[in-house]
């Protein structure tokens, strides 16, 4: 238990380090960094590499945005098996819909309760 928490923490942290390096060294914008991470996760799952990664790192692999790309591909492939090519389109947001809906719902709630402020770093 403790060991798997440490692994998750370290692996998740390392993914964030890569993201920070993309900001600071590669000078990518937040939007570019986000998209790149999603694409990488998606490609990894295409090669069947993301599931073993989740087995190894747990939340360290599922929490970062990489896993959103993984879920996109995962859903698309699962549906494609059932419904053929059209399943690629319907499946993409099948697994991810909960995440997207949650982002919208919680975003609305936060916007109603709080007033946005500039972030002093």
């Amino acid at each position: 238990m403790i060991f798997s928490i440490i692994i998750a923490f370290v692996v998740g942290g390392l993914i964030c380090v890569v993201g920070q390096l993309l900001f600071d060294v590669a000078k990518l914008t937040p939007a570019h960094t986000l998209s790149l991470m999603v694409v990488i996760g998606s490609v990894l799952d295409g090669f069947g590499l993301y599931e073993p990664f989740i087995d190894f790192a747990g939340a360290g692999a599922t929490v970062p945005i990489l896993s959103f790309g993984n879920s996109l591909t995962h859903g698309a492939m699962a549906e494609a098996e059932k419904h053929g090519l059209i399943g690629v389109l319907t499946g993409m947001f099948e697994v991810t819909s909960s995440g997207i809906s949650a982002a919208i719902v919680f975003g609305v709630i936060a916007a109603i309760i709080f007033k946005s402020k500039g972030k002093v770093s």
Binding site: K27, P30, A111, S116, G118, K119, V120, S121
Partner: protein
Amino acid sequence: MKNARTYQFATKPSIVSTAVSVGPLEKQSPFRPHFDHVYEDERFGEDSNEKGHATLIEDTCKLAIMKGGFQATDIDLFLAGDLVNQMTPTNFAARELATPFMGMFSACATSISSLITASFFLETNQMERILFGSASQHNAVERQFRYPIEYGAQKPPTGQWTVTGAGFGILSQYQRDKPYVHSATIGQVVDCECKDPLDMGSAMAPAAFDTIQQHLSQNKGTSYDFVMTGDLGKNGSAILQELIRTSGVSSYLVDKYRDAGAEFYGNNEKFLSGGSGAGCSASVYYGPIYAELLKKQWKKILLVATGALLSPLSFQQGETIPCIAHAVELTME
């Protein structure tokens, strides 16, 4: 006009009154004692940032008019600008002020370009009082040029913090006990091919250098108490100092060089490279610097406001950031 770009004003137009208002975070500024009004609400009692921005401009202009002992009807022209699309905050404030109005945009250099333009109008002797200046409101401007604040995007150490503040003044005919505009240099657009909108200081430093060099070459032998740029920040000021030092033209200025943005939040590292925005230079120039000139602490200074002439669209399309700097030499007798 021969040798254009630097002009002297024979009528010595004087800044007879100024007012500066800032938002809640700007309380932390070492210039705080010279701000007329610090608001506790960053939206100035309005329900949106943009509406608050307009209120900030309107209130500060009214204060400048009142402090000078005038009324809005005494103002012949209102010359000002801000950084929001189509300058709606300034336009809306002008609607309330109901004075003759012309909008000006030189990005963050509007604090000085409006003063230069006002000086020329006064030289014609057809106007008596011109209200000039510029303003910025953090949340509205960050959305415009960087990311909406709700996005919570990280800024690198070269990033600057848009100041919520407004600085306005009234320029009128020469008055012996007030600082006057001795001369001005109109900047040229300088593009050093910088592309990073989170490092505008580096992009603007060469423009400031170009204008300073031009102004000094036309005013040889003049000794300044200091030269103060607008919002190069700590990063950009270091680059400008290096440019001054290596060029050798005006090496004596190295120690007399200041930057409003770099000084705005003191040494607080939370504000990264320092303050920026059209309200940054305006609130420093027309607040503390004006007050010190009135007290004759300084007699001759060169104010060089800097502006980055980019739009979010030009940046997204991969364009470089063209920059400009306008200079005004103020004298107190």
